[in-house]
Amino acid sequence: MIEHQPIQYDVLVIGAGGAGLRAAIEARAMGASVGLVCKSLLGKAHTVMAEGGVAAALSNVDDRDNWEVHFADTMRGGQYLNNCRMAELHAKEAPARVRELEAWGAVFDRSPDGRILQRNFGGHAYPRLAHVGDRTGLEMIRTLQDYAVHQEIDVHMECAVIELLTDGERVVGAFAFDRDRGTFKVFRTKAVVLATGGIGKAYRVTSNSWEYTGDGHALAYRAGAALIDMEFVQFHPTGMVWPPSVAGILVTEGVRGEGGVLRNSLGERFMFSDIPPAYRNQTADNEEEGWRYTQGDKDARRPPELLTRDHVARCIMREVKEGRGSPHGGVFLDIAWIKERLPAAAEHIKRKLPSMYHQFKELADIDITEEPMEVGPTTHYVMGGVRVDADSQMTNVPGLFAAGECAAGLHGANRLGGNSLSDLLVFGKRAGEYAARFAQENSAGEIPGDHTALVARTALEPFDRGVDTDSAENPFEIQQDLQKMMQDQVGIVRNEHDMQAAVEGIGRLRERAERAAVGGNREYNPGWHTALDLRNLLTYSEAIARSALARKESRGAHTRLDYPDKDEELGKLSVVIRKNPDGDLEVSWEPIPEIPEGLQRIIDARK
């Protein structure tokens, strides 16, 4: 049944978005033999969707910027639940990682003096996002991909890992299947880097594709690693809401960075009516000042549209709920208005936001240079994930590393836009480096034959159940039911009753998943793939719901109707999810890493 001998590498990287590619490049540069596994074709991972830019304190546009300001912005945005060491490393190393991309061929937009141009974004004090129009992610993934293919890295495209293999203590390999042929592959490796991205496919309205089924979260959990902060799921405030088939597709924050404003059905700039105290000193209190900020006036404060994503999403929900929404249940995002201020505004918009122009024109028949867009929150990103050591990115399972969205710590309770692309680069590199070091210091372990046989048997069960039997379940239906439930009951605004119901609902879906049946054969069979995905989807959905139940307060992206305020004590703790010895999901608390005096001073100076 398993056709080949194990494929051997020093380091196996799972996932080929920004973090996985960067990790593979670094591990290879350290001399390790590297395998890179990706569920899609190379270069199609979700990094390609990132629009706005990569945050790095290059201070090319505003020389007041430096790593300390970036660090303080990241901590404030994360409501101080961040791992401060990660936030420090990230702010310090991001500029070098961005310059490195340029050395590998990336072509960023330029400042008038020929340096990398930077733009404004929510929660960043100064223009900080290096960008290429609104297709920065494409530029980044293509640069990394084109560099990586010349580094003798073995790429396994359309291959999905369904289980990590351990010897009881450390990771020794991974079990995978080829999506096109349906055959199994076993990897024997000294270290594994998880770079599998996010979890958005557990929600109905999402900016994420089919790939984002929390594989890294679930693989790590089953291998004994701890997950933290899983209650913090970012709903990006601006996704498309109409027509229904495109609901959830992202509308970049760059629209607001370029001067786009949010209005309700009465035409009001509603964001001015609720500015959180922590941001009051940095936020414009009139429209004129906000406009000047977006046009580069260094003395102006940012418009409230550029407050953090959690806050903007909540304000949009409030407008909709109180009856001031747009016809299709969102609000209006207007960039066309800038023609009152700028000559040749239509051309300016097309040049600065080309893919947004294209996306609305082709999918919604809307010309954004003439009329406003309708937008509403969409599931976008998970701050929580696998707990890692800040410097090495190693989990509590020796030899198992995690980087990028599937790792936790950097973003705390809410991520700032632009900090994801820099996260991928900084911690992708670190994970690759430390995984290669681990591989140098450790020999390969033994593949547990009984475990691989069990995984293979279980994976094929959906074929044996028979699609025509009474008990057979359609895997797509189970997934859709889960998406609806998570959206309605563990969504943007939460309460005890709904989330309890969701936890019970997940239990029932798990029983149904055990009856998921598929027809056809093993060759490129999406029904089978979806049946296999259900296990991971259900595992991390329970982790999200149980973490969200535990946190009885509202903070960052986690909003509870029944506990609307912050709880100072909980602000010092993270929710931890682990598999207990009986195989059940266990919830506990642990203190967040203490902030050293030096870093605390930086935070206090900018409060």
Partner: protein, 246 residues
């Protein structure tokens, strides 16, 4: 709700056939939505490749009523629905199953091309000084999402199967992005002529017409590269100059 019929290729290259599926349609739907609905409700094992569903990743290339397009950007309101909508895989690449074909050849081609090689940095921090007007041209080429529709429609590959001696429009665009990159110091002109087969392109602009990113492939990428090849190898004055150089 109104329904439409979708005539979808099912199975392998030799043994497959078209099958009709009726599917309910609603406002704003694209072809990929219909394929997904059919997959979820009627044919769980219907193979289709996709990712972003927003025209940004280039995964869902197919031929819709005979024209190569991204399924995620093909709105049903722009397709006649009074007769079945035909959806078949790209024809230039070997079929895996249903709508999915084996595009791995493209990834092998890229590996053979000379990588980016920057000139020494302009500043001590390892960075360069380049003006926006100098990168505008290259940025057009770098919009490419590698959907391979240009490869699919190119007759040198589609009709003549010259996969072993012609890299196709996608990689001519890639070569142009590198050749015209203001920092690049590599010379690819010899390779373009000898191994990349740029001479096979007879500029019919089929590639430009199907590009979902609206890259002016023929005029802006291929023709300037052809000019470089001509200048280098076929300019009579240069030829004489080369003789004397030897």
């Amino acid at each position: 709700m109104p329904t439409a019929t979708f005539r979808i290729w099912r199975g392998k290259a030799g043994s497959g056939s078209f099958q009709d599926y009726d599917c309910e349609i609603s406002e704003g739907m694209v072809v990929l939505d219909a394929v997904h609905k059919i997959q979820a409700e009627q044919a769980n094992d219907l193979a289709v490749r996709w990712n972003c569903k927003a025209g940004k990743c280039g995964s869902c290339s197919a031929e819709i009523n005979g024209s190569p397009r991204l399924m995620c950007m093909a709105r049903l309101s722009q397709v006649p629905l009074d007769k079945p909508v035909t959806i078949e895989p790209m024809q230039t690449f070997p079929l895996v199953k249903d709508l999915v074909c084996d595009v791995s050849w493209n990834f092998e081609v890229k590996k053979q091309l000379k990588p980016f090689a920057p000139r020494p940095p302009d500043a001590e921090d390892g960075s360069w000084r380049v003006l926006q007007r100098d990168v505008d041209r290259v940025q057009e080429f770098r919009k490419c999402i590698e959907c391979f529709l240009c490869q699919d429609v190119c007759h040198v590959l589609r009709e003549h199967h010259f996969h072993d001696r012609f890299i196709g429009p996608r990689f001519l665009v890639h070569a142009a992005a590198l050749e015209m990159h203001p920092l690049d110091s590599e010379d690819r002109v010899g390779q373009l002529r000898e191994t990349d087969g740029i001479g096979y392109c007879n500029i019919t602009k089929c590639c430009t017409n199907v590009c979902p990113e609206h890259i002016t492939i023929t005029d802006n990428a291929i023709i300037p590269l052809k000019e470089r090849v001509v200048d280098e190898f076929y300019d009579p004055l240069r030829k004489i100059f080369r003789v004397f150089q030897k």
